[in-house]
């Protein structure tokens, strides 16, 4: 076990993502890497910290203006998300909640231009930072609101829905064949193994921090969803659902509820 950890460490130091175990590193291994000071995701979280305290909206407010220095009032918030928010009257995940805060309370415009900038620039660092404020706390998603219950059932339906050119569902890979390999990549079991506790996660293969929205969009790309009579890679491939869609939140709620009781340890670290 020790030598495996050492190998992973070595591969990371060398900046090599190939050749080491495809398994998700354990929290212990992440901790060890943290001590060595080589977690690239920390840089992204620091960027989020900077936005949180210093990025002013058109009306002069920062995130910290409402949520307190060092996000004092947001401690534990991520452990309960996605959930229903009265002020925006919808069930929101972390991505949507932050976007709504910025447009509703900081005065950023609700237009396409800001949406794009938010998605590309602010979303992941801020989500990463806010998520870390719940580190060490137990995930506790409750379905108190009827909208949450409805969203959960919708997520469950999507989880088992076989569809697209590859007749896939989330469950066929990540439940029925969880633990098996696609080529050399082991399939994780987010529901059974409560993997949500490690999301948002940094992926070495992409050199990016991903929220669960990014992850689900990536999965749907491999479904080969199409609209025409036959699947056509060039013309007719409906690759990824756009960000902030209800479908993404529903699947997040379904998976996070399954992770109840697990301790938030983010950002996670993946191949």
């Amino acid at each position: 076990m020790k030598s495996k950890k050492f190998l992973i460490g070595l591969a990371l130091v060398g900046g090599v993502a190939v050749g080491f175990s495809a398994d998700v590193p354990t929290p212990d291994q992440v901790k060890q890497l943290k001590e060595m000071g080589i977690l690239p995701s920390d840089v992204i979280v620091d960027e989020g910290n900077d936005y949180f305290h210093n990025l002013k909206g058109p009306n002069g407010k920062t995130c910290a203006s409402c949520h307190g220095q060092d996000g004092a009032k947001l401690v534990g918030a991520y452990a309960k998300m996605p959930r229903y928010y009265k002020d925006i009257d919808k069930v929101a995940d972390i991505d949507i909640r932050i976007k709504a805060c910025m447009t509703k309370y900081m005065g950023f415009p609700k237009d396409k231009k800001f949406k794009k900038k938010f998605t590309k620039k602010y979303r992941v660092p801020l989500a990463g930072y806010v998520a870390t404020l719940s580190n060490g706390m137990k995930i506790n998603v409750t379905l108190d609101d009827p909208q949450e219950k409805e969203m959960y059932e919708f997520g469950k339906k999507l989880w088992y829905q076989r569809v697209g050119g590859r007749d896939l569902s989330c469950a066929i890979c990540h439940e029925v064949y969880a633990g098996y390999r696609i080529r050399l990549q082991k399939l994780g079991a987010p529901v059974r193994d409560k993997l949500y506790a490690h999301w948002p996660a940094y992926r070495f293969s992409k050199d990016k921090l991903w929220t669960m929205e990014d992850r689900i969009r990536g999965c749907y790309k491999s479904y080969f969803l199409y609209l025409g009579k036959k699947w056509d890679k060039k013309k007719d491939w409906v690759k990824k659902p756009p960000y902030y869609m209800k479908e993404l939140v529903a699947l997040e709620l379904f998976m996070k509820k399954a992770a109840n009781g697990a301790t938030v340890e983010v950002p996670g670290l993946l191949r």
Binding site: V163, I172, L225, W231, P242
Partner: protein, 191 residues
Amino acid sequence: MKKVLFTGLVVGLGAIVACQAPASKAEQKAEKPAKKMSKEEKFRAALAKQDKYQKACSNEKQLIPEGISIEQFKKDMLATIKYPEGGVVGDWKKGEKLFGDPKKGGKGLGNCYACHCGDPSIIACGNIGPSLTGYGKSGADPKVTYQRIYNPWSVNPCSAMFRFGVHGILSPEQIAHITAFLHDPNSPINK
């Protein structure tokens, strides 16, 4: 005259028409160019395009169809299979490239190595499906092999393997080439 006016309206307000009662043929024609789907709409429409059989497999068991007998399911799936003119056994060398080209690390249109092992020289192979090394020596009927690739659900309802032929991911000719790759005694699968 009224009809002309209405058709004009339809062109302008294609999105609204979609929510209304079924339109006549002329109106449907007018609707087409006006309606451009957003990415959200496209995704939802593609998700909704679930066929009867996918729906039957969308249960918590995943591998056993619900609401239809297994016999009927298999029979219906067998009826979807089209066969190539040149027979179900094609050119194994072409099949090798489709199965997963050894020169490209086992990548190919069929992407078979994602789930199956085959040519022992390709080490990066998945284990969701059974290993196919030595498959040709098993005595399987090439026609059944062809059917299993074209529509795996004709043999194993709701299996994780894609219905390559049904969706058009592989053409009948391409499936015949892969069948040859699996059966030919000179193929690295059987050496």
